[in-house]
Symmetry: C2
Subunit: 108 residues, 2 copies
């Protein structure tokens, strides 16, 4: 689902990743992180899709909230596993959303 976010400005973290073939434990950890991120102060929503490349965008009220989420202990452990086991490569981009606009057919 497209995330429902407030009027800009707000922040986005674009996390792009390429995974290894061996992904033991990855799906479970991903779900744990999804459950956990939703409880974080300043979290506004997230969107995710994966084909060859995975893209997860999370939305935040401030840089401070992003920084605190990065330092949550379970998340630090997930980041460590990610580097050691699952990700072949990743890139994180911290962005200020300056403007947004959209379209909704109203049929759902």
């Amino acid at each position: 689902m497209i995330a429902t976010t407030p009027k800009p400005p707000y922040y986005a973290v674009i996390f792009s990743s390429e995974v290894n073939q061996e992904l033991e434990g990855y799906k479970e950890m991903s779900q744990q992180m999804v459950d956990l991120v939703k409880t974080q102060p300043g979290y506004l929503g997230h969107e995710s899709a994966r084909e060859e490349l995975g893209i997860t965008v999370s939305y935040w009220d401030s840089l401070d909230s992003i920084k605190k989420w990065k330092a949550v202990s379970e998340h630090l452990q997930a980041q460590k596993f990610g580097r050691e086991k699952w990700y072949r490569a990743y890139k994180t981009r911290i962005c200020l959303v300056e403007r947004d606009y959209g379209f909704d057919s109203g049929l759902f």
Copy 2:
């Protein structure tokens, strides 16, 4: 592939979309737009993935380049078809990338 982008600041356009079941012509038009966007002044790269939700992030050197790409005639036509035929909903977010960091296992 993760896009190779210059040192921040630069811009990102996050395009999140939900498509209809009937997608005649969509794949061809998407490929045309990928070919076309790569030729645009100020284009730095893009990343794309789709499951239920589609996320395409394109990277740009300036707001002016983003504005000009939005107004390219073939792209305007694609946007029109998108609203009329293919997309159930979409959201476009214009962002300033303030910081980025990454990891590459070096195995590829």
